[in-house]
Amino acid sequence: MNIVKRPHRTNLIRFAARHPEVVVLSADLTSSCEADLLRDQRADQFLSLGMAEQNMVSFAGGMAREGLTPWVHTFAVFLTRRTFDQVAMSIAYPNLRVRLVGFLPGITTPGGVTHQAVDDLALMRVIPNMTIIECGDATDDETVLEVAQAVDGPVYIRMLRGLVPRLFPADQALVLGRCRELGQGEDVAVLTSGICTEEGLRALAALRSRGLAATHLHVSTIKPFPQSQVLDALAGVRGGVVVLENHSIIGGLGSAVAEVMAEAGLGLPLVRLGLQDVYAQGASREYLMAKHGLDAAALVCAIEGLVDADFGVPAEELTADVTAPDEGRVEDL
């Protein structure tokens, strides 16, 4: 698999050069959020506001009212939990063109519970006017900027940093409101987002080679939820639906799918894989994904339960085919 090193870091500079109205705001996590190159090369489009996120978010609202487009960079926890009221009142209520770029989604950081955004999607979903996009690979990372910039209102982006796999061709840009359709089959449907899509691809490759027919959607637009596309994809599926996400099972993709299925009267079993209403801990990504059932093995297990079969997939077939040291995961906590 192709791994891209720090795709956002260079892409952000090219993007800012195309959009003079863009100003990147940072709260003392500039290189951690891959905005350091922009700071050094396009200083007039960068503003350091120190470790003061509440002010930064409201400040961004004031800038947006004057015609600029602030791109607020910090860790997802600090951008959603710590500043929830500021996001809601200074940015979302007035429907301002502010882009909130949240790094370290879910358990992608060993930094422990203070750094792990396991509830950010839930928090942002309840805010009217908010658009929510989650990136799952380097192509999503690179193309989400133009997609977000075109939205007439606030956008929350769950961004990946460091060593990011390229799952989708670089010329197939993320499209707002469209899931990527990664497979079609009537036994089960699998919906994945963020880093869990890589897990889903691996699990389903193993299961398809053993005869499973599965529909697979990569969901990048969490809000507004692509309801009709999801319902179309689920029509005809017999065994059930599995959602796999790097987030609490409450309030994120699993909840969105449950809401859509229930309102449509779709009588299929639904399994929500993700953090089961618990906090994680400081540990490696691989350890936490296995412990909390966010990985390919957990997905295989859930599908086997739905279709009542044992596919006998050996564990090594479900682990990543890349063993490069993931420096982006351990630096800049």
Binding site: N55, S58, F59
Partner: protein, 313 residues
């Protein structure tokens, strides 16, 4: 009316007349509706009168004298949403923006807008009525409001962001914020003062109504903020402490030449100024609700005195 000399007796008399009118309108409204934010009018009347009588550089009002009904919250599906900023005049590079933070003072602001002929007196009939923008606690659609500030501490940050953006595009208009002293308890306020100083946003001018009162009572019974002037100076602000009922003293800081620092005017005020019987309610001054017909009658008598005294302020 443009401010030429803040020690001009005619201008001072005009400000005093305006301030008296603000108190009278808020008292009349409080009597008519059985309650109101009265002490806020008593403390801030001269501050708002000074600002609207010339300390602010504003154009003529650009919004209808009778406020429009609520057009729905802003959003992609609502092109009709608006703010109440037009009551403070048009947006222009050389004009000031006025950010009103403690929106519990909304009734006081509406009364000030009426006194300076930026809103029609009948507009106040819509106060706190369902479907109206003349809300009890104002939001950005309310007359005179630029942003949604009701969650205290956020307005100053929003004004700072606007000030940074306006400086970046070469605009010379200032960004003037009206703040309440209780907001000096909010952590976000201090984040913002640190930001204003560090980024040298001297196009920000903050007036603080230092009435020493908050919802629970006297600030010193809740959580004191003194020495507030020293604290602000230590954060890099250019602090000016004035008698908040003295128009000339209030106007002078607005004429200072910028020196790189944000200007903070600590306006020491009396929450019962001009309405002596209000003192009997101390320390519960946040909201005036009459407890008896006898009390109401005494306030009605005070209103009658206001109306008799009109013109000889």
């Amino acid at each position: 009316m443009a401010l030429r000399r803040s020690d001009d007796p005619a201008w001072i008399a005009d400000v005093r007349r305006t301030a008296r009118g603000i108190r009278r309108r808020v008292l009349a409204h409080t009597l008519a509706h059985g309650g109101g934010y009265m002490s806020q009018a008593c403390s801030s009347a001269e501050i708002l009168a000074t600002l609207y009588r010339g300390a602010l550089r504003l154009g003529p009002p650009a919004d209808p004298p009778i406020p429009r009904p609520f057009a729905g919250p802003p959003g992609a599906g609502n092109p009709d949403a608006f703010t109440g900023a037009g009551y403070n005049g048009p947006r222009a590079p050389e004009l000031d923006r006025f950010y009103f933070s403690p929106v519990h003072y909304a009734l006081v602001l509406y009364s000030a807008l009426i006194e300076v002929a930026r809103m029609a007196p009948e507009g106040l009939d819509q106060f706190n009525r369902d479907g109206s923008t003349v809300e009890l606690i104002g939001a950005e659609h309310s007359p005179g409001h630029e942003v949604t500030a009701g969650s205290l501490g956020q307005c100053l940050s929003q004004a700072a962001g606007a000030a940074w953006a306006r400086r970046r595009s070469g605009e010379t208009g200032r960004n003037v914020v009206f703040l309440s002293d209780g907001e000096l308890q909010e952590g976000q306020t201090w984040e913002t003062f640190a930001t204003l100083a560090w980024h040298r946003l001297d196009n920000v001018l903050v007036y603080v109504d230092m009435n020493a009162q908050q919802c629970d009572g006297a600030m010193d019974s809740v959580m004191g903020i003194d020495p507030s002037g020293d604290r602000l100076a230590a954060f890099g602000a250019r602090v000016v402490e004035v008698d908040g009922h003295d128009p000339a003293a209030l106007a002078a800081p607005a004429a200072l030449a910028p020196d790189g620092r944000p200007v903070v005017v600590l306006a020491r005020t009396d929450p019962c100024r001009g309405l002596e019987i209000l003192r009997e309610r101390a320390p519960k001054l946040h909201y005036l609700r009459f407890t008896s017909n006898e009390e109401r009658a005494r306030y009605a008598a005070a209103l009658a005195e206001f109306e008799e005294g009109e013109g000889d302020a």
